[in-house]
């Protein structure tokens, strides 16, 4: 009995450490379940969190925009492709306003003063939320900027673009989101 005590203790400790390691890796790994679901023609519910608005005070959730076609764009002022796609997003915002839709920017690891300066420089007028702790980005599996998700009027993900968004993608994705 006592002879088995030490090996048992060591085994329990090793299993515990292994469990902590596996949980830590799993908790911090980026999800790709949204991509898989969308690739199979499904529309998974869009992950959501209450986040502070970049412009002005208050908090917003993506659910607050339910009933509209929502283009969620993760961006940061330090991201060069984000600056390159800004004119396209501005044109898209103007088009979306005619069909009950909007772009919602989500800033990622960015100083709010820099984000505001970026929006002013690029004449962007759509609302942006500040994903302060990066939890929303993690829920969307965002690993690099920019990334764009198009949500239908029921708040489900209809299309995903990881990387700089193209006008062709936006046209097709918005049409798809409207069709539901």
């Amino acid at each position: 009995m006592r002879r088995a005590l030490i090996p048992s203790l060591v085994a329990v400790c090793a299993a515990g450490l292994l469990g902590v390691l596996v949980y830590g890796v799993a908790a911090r790994s980026h999800s790709r379940t949204l991509d898989d679901a969308v690739a199979h023609g499904q529309r998974p519910p869009a992950p959501d969190r209450s986040l502070p608005l970049l412009q002005g005070g208050g908090q917003r959730r993506l659910a607050d925009y339910r009933g509209q076609v929502v283009v969620v764009n993760f961006w940061a002022s330090w991201c060069t492709p984000c600056a390159e796609e800004a004119p396209l997003l501005n044109r898209t915002q103007a088009a979306l306003s005619h069909i009950r839709g909007t772009i919602i920017g989500v800033t990622f690891r960015d100083l709010s003063s820099d984000s505001l300066a970026f929006m002013s420089e690029h004449h962007s007028t759509y609302p942006s939320l500040r994903d302060v702790d990066g939890k929303l980005a993690q829920a969307y599996g965002t690993t690099q900027l920019p990334e764009t998700f198009v949500l239908d009027r029921s708040g489900r993900v209809a299309a995903i673009s990881r990387g700089e968004v193209s006008s062709d993608f936006l046209r097709r994705a918005v049409a798809l989101a409207q069709s539901s």
Binding site: L5, I6, L9, L17, V20, A27, A76, W78, D133, G134
Partner: protein, 186 residues
């Protein structure tokens, strides 16, 4: 100090646990702004005029190198003092602006948390899953000490059992030895 058997080994273990536990608890205590300020270590100041009772203690100025060591560059994923990127430079400019406003180190770190979340702090928080960063090493030390204590007591018992018993002298030889010893007794 001899470690004979269980009770003393476990007393030692409890002592180690208590010491480590208090160290962790002290680390987890929230700091007041006065504790959070980072004054450079230097010679003691000469006593000045007495502060009127109730007046707030003077705040030491925060410094960029000290704060850089304690926060991360969230984009680069390394401590800010090691980061060399435009994003890190923007974060440094943000910190410099707050220092210029006379903010304390704790206030500046809180402002960084407001901007980037708790992940900007170089030390992991002491709650939730991140507490594992403190608890796992603590548990490892406790288990190691327990193992060493158990093995020590086992080795001592084994050593005692293996020692050869002193052979008894025959009676006449013993008497002879007693006599010789008595002769040399001073």
């Amino acid at each position: 100090m001899s470690l004979r058997g269980g009770p003393r080994a476990f007393a030692l273990l409890a002592l180690v646990c208590a010491a480590l536990g208090s160290a962790v608890a002290a680390r987890a205590e929230p700091r007041s702004p006065a504790h959070g300020t980072l004054a450079p270590a230097g010679p003691a100041q000469a006593p000045g005029p007495a502060r009127p009772s109730g007046a707030p203690a003077p705040r030491a100025r925060a410094s960029l190198p000290d704060i850089e060591r304690e926060v991360m560059c969230p984009v680069c994923g390394v401590p800010l003092n090691l980061a060399d990127s435009p994003q890190a430079d923007r974060e440094r400019a943000f910190i410099r602006a707050l220092i210029a406003q006379g903010r304390t180190s704790a206030q500046i770190k809180q402002a960084l948390v407001t901007q980037f979340g708790r992940g900007v702090l170089a030390l992991p928080p002491s709650h939730g899953f991140d507490a594992a960063a403190y608890l796992v090493p603590l548990a490892a030390v406790v288990v190691l000490v327990a193992l060493v204590a158990l093995l020590l007591s086992r080795w001592r018992r084994r050593g005692r059992a293996a020692a050869p018993a002193t052979p008894a002298l025959p009676t006449d030889e013993a008497r002879h030895l007693e006599r010789d010893l008595a002769r040399y007794d001073l």
